[in-house]
Symmetry: C2
Subunit: 440 residues, 2 copies
């Protein structure tokens, strides 16, 4: 028996907080050379599907044989090209699914984003019934550190892939790599991104001559928009050199460089006092442990009657980031729940004025990105390789799915100092005219 099995011991805490271990026994052949599927492997797939809440998914094994789901009609097929892929998938599905897909060892028939959304929904419902050892085996891990030096590495890892790459599939209005605002469902990505910028400016109640600090400015689109459309002065901070080079060149080209200054520095070093503080799509990379510093920063730089807006991916309740996304795409990422988000506002004694959830807007944004990515697939392969392209597809489709299934949220939170009584008394002004450019 000991010769024909491999054993893995899983450590976990039981409900009383005691350390426990669970011995997982797997047949040794599973780790050997390619061959006909073992009956144990068919059983593992059935078990995997049951543990995942019985989604309408069938598997095709490396010999061409199908393993159908029980009691449901399959809507998707996952093809496994070798038996080792199955073993990875069973022992660490959160990480392995993305890795196997990227390398082509796992393939999908059917819409990838729809499959992922289906999996997320089923797993979400099923996991309440998981035994503790399975919860421990399949858990996601704590995000990596986001101190200043690590933040640089984390950001470089993703954001310095090259402006040329992002230009292939982001909007060609202001290169926004954050959730757009689909004021009406049929507008273009460009319109929706400009509508997002406009919606943010309206929420900040910008007026000509005001000063704005922006933390994490990407390619600088918001800064230029605020300067151009609202006549405000912007200090925009970023630590990605490639993005800053683009941002500065573009501001110069548009004759906005007297109004927008792009500063290469960590957000923690923002200096001065401003009428508005804004950060779009940075907080999910900041890490919970830096929320107190974020809170102090905003307290320090925001004038007494100033307005702050943070736009971030979030959660319905505190949860760790998906392992594959955190490991392969966004190191250090941690989307906060509102209660976690509130530690920024409550520690700073801010008054929260407005929270809006734009969850499905991000699903639509990602769908648009995916379409454009597919249109330029060959160019991406020429720039990188097939593995890179598939990894990116998994990331875009998986993220679309997470927003559709409700695993991720998108929060825009507006707040001010607690004693600020100089406020618009309702939000009607945000809706007085369309935010999207064509309709204006």
């Amino acid at each position: 028996m000991s010769d024909s099995t491999a054993r893995e011991t899983i450590q976990y805490q039981d409900q009383d907080g005691k350390q426990q271990s669970h011995l997982l026994t797997l047949p040794m052949e599973a780790a050997q050379a390619d061959r006909e599927p073992h009956s144990y492997e068919r059983w593992l797939i059935s078990k995997l599907l049951r543990m995942a809440g019985s989604p309408p998914v069938r598997f095709q094994l490396w010999n061409g044989e199908f393993v159908e789901p029980e009691r449901v009609q399959a809507e998707f097929t996952i093809r496994l090209n070798d038996h080792k892929a199955l073993l990875s998938l069973v022992t660490n599905p959160n990480l392995a699914f993305g890795d196997l897909f990227s390398s082509g060892r796992l393939q999908v028939d059917g819409d990838l984003a729809e499959l992922m959304a289906t999996l997320y929904r089923h797993v979400h419902n099923a996991r309440q019934r998981w035994p503790r050892w399975l919860e421990a085996l399949w858990r996601n891990h704590a995000p990596r550190s986001t101190g200043e030096s690590e933040a640089k590495e984390n950001i470089h890892h993703h954001y310095d892939l090259g402006n040329e790459f992002y230009q292939l599939w982001l909007d060609n209005a202001e290169m926004q790599y954050t959730c757009a605002y689909y004021e009406s469902p049929d507008i273009t990505l460009e319109q929706a991104q400009l509508a997002k910028l406009e919606h943010v400016c309206r929420k900040l109640r910008l007026k000509p001559g005001m000063t704005v600090a922006e933390a994490g400015c990407g390619w600088g689109g918001l800064g230029r928009y605020m300067a151009r459309e609202y006549g405000v002065k912007v200090h925009a901070y970023n630590i990605s050199k490639e993005q800053l080079a683009y941002a500065r060149a573009e501001a110069k080209r548009q004759n906005l460089d007297h109004l927008v200054e792009y500063i290469e520095d960590d957000y923690r070093n923002i200096a001065g006092r401003y009428d508005a503080f804004v950060s779009i799509g940075m907080l999910e990379h900041v890490g919970k442990e830096n929320f107190p510093a974020m809170s102090e920063l905003i307290r320090r730089v925001l004038k007494p009657n100033g307005l702050a807006l943070l736009h971030s991916i979030g959660r319905n309740r505190p949860m760790l980031m998906n392992a594959w996304i955190e490991k392969r795409i966004f190191p250090g990422a941690y989307p906060p729940s509102i209660s976690e988000f509130m530690s920024i506002c409550e520690n700073g004694e801010f008054s929260v004025l407005d929270v809006e959830n734009l969850r499905l807007h991000y699903a639509q944004t990602l769908t648009h990105w995916m379409e454009r990515f597919q249109d330029h697939r060959q160019q991406v392969i020429d720039m990188y390789d097939e593995h890179f392209a598939r990894a990116w597809e998994m990331y875009l489709a998986g993220s679309t799915a997470a927003f559709r299934a409700g695993s991720l949220q998108l929060f825009q939170v507006v707040f001010t100092h607690g004693a600020n009584n100089d406020l618009p008394q309702n939000r009607r002004d945000l809706y007085e005219s369309p935010a999207a450019p064509e309709a204006r």
Copy 2:
């Protein structure tokens, strides 16, 4: 020395969590019969003013003499009618101010709400510098359990004071005893209360034929409004007999009793499944310890695509209720911060869609209530007595001040089940036409 002083020992925890005590030594004469002010008492007032952050307030003592504030010009005068009042005020200002005012032993020259707002602002800034023993001496206490018989009596004392009393000063549109919505600053209380009802209905996206559960319905105004204006079926729960009698009679009079059913029962016993769940101004009386039950209740009764709206007084950060309000007006009251509020949403795996803060709308509502209360002051005295009228003035003015100074917030939170994708994608529809009736 021991003959001429009274001593009080204050217990408190130091920053390391160790139990400490501070001996407060007061002159014995302070507890004796009326007489000329002692120089120690003048010193106590100066100390009190400094500890309160040096507000522009002077004191007039029982012999007519003034004690001016240091370094500021007095804008308000607090008159103390006897020396024992001073002792109470110094040792327990949160509770004593309201009690002394109610009994007429403390009187105020100048606008009471403005004085209170000034005090709240100064104390808020000053308390960061308080020594631990003072923090311990002046602290507010944990709210009483809503199950205690004393609390029940007091709640009965507040809400069952008689419809006749509330009719004197609440709006005569729908008798709303919650924050109104001043869509424009110059509308009447009646318009603003109807605008609130309309704003809530719009946020719930009500359509004819839908079903709504309401927890804590007061005099039933929202239920009737929803039935009349939106053609929905309402089950409205309340435990106040007097309010229910009014609510039922009024629904019958308006021929709405086939649509609105008023049910005398605890909110925890709400039965059925509904397209919408709404609770206006009840959560601040529910108590944090009952938030898990609230969360489970809404999970149970809200249909998969249903929307829930909770409207509650809140805080910028977790804090205990003012001692006087908690003891004399609203036993068991605890206005939650958003992070505390979120325990309802996050434990229930709800997705929060919208948070709006209507803080200054409540200040204006309270100002309108106070004006009407003053117009009917003699009637109130005839129904009760001078002490009651002054206590009510303190409550209305103090609450106005708390909203103006930012000590209290008013949150409207809209949420739904996590998997609900059947949602309006923006909030434009809330603002398509005026919510206030005259302008519609």
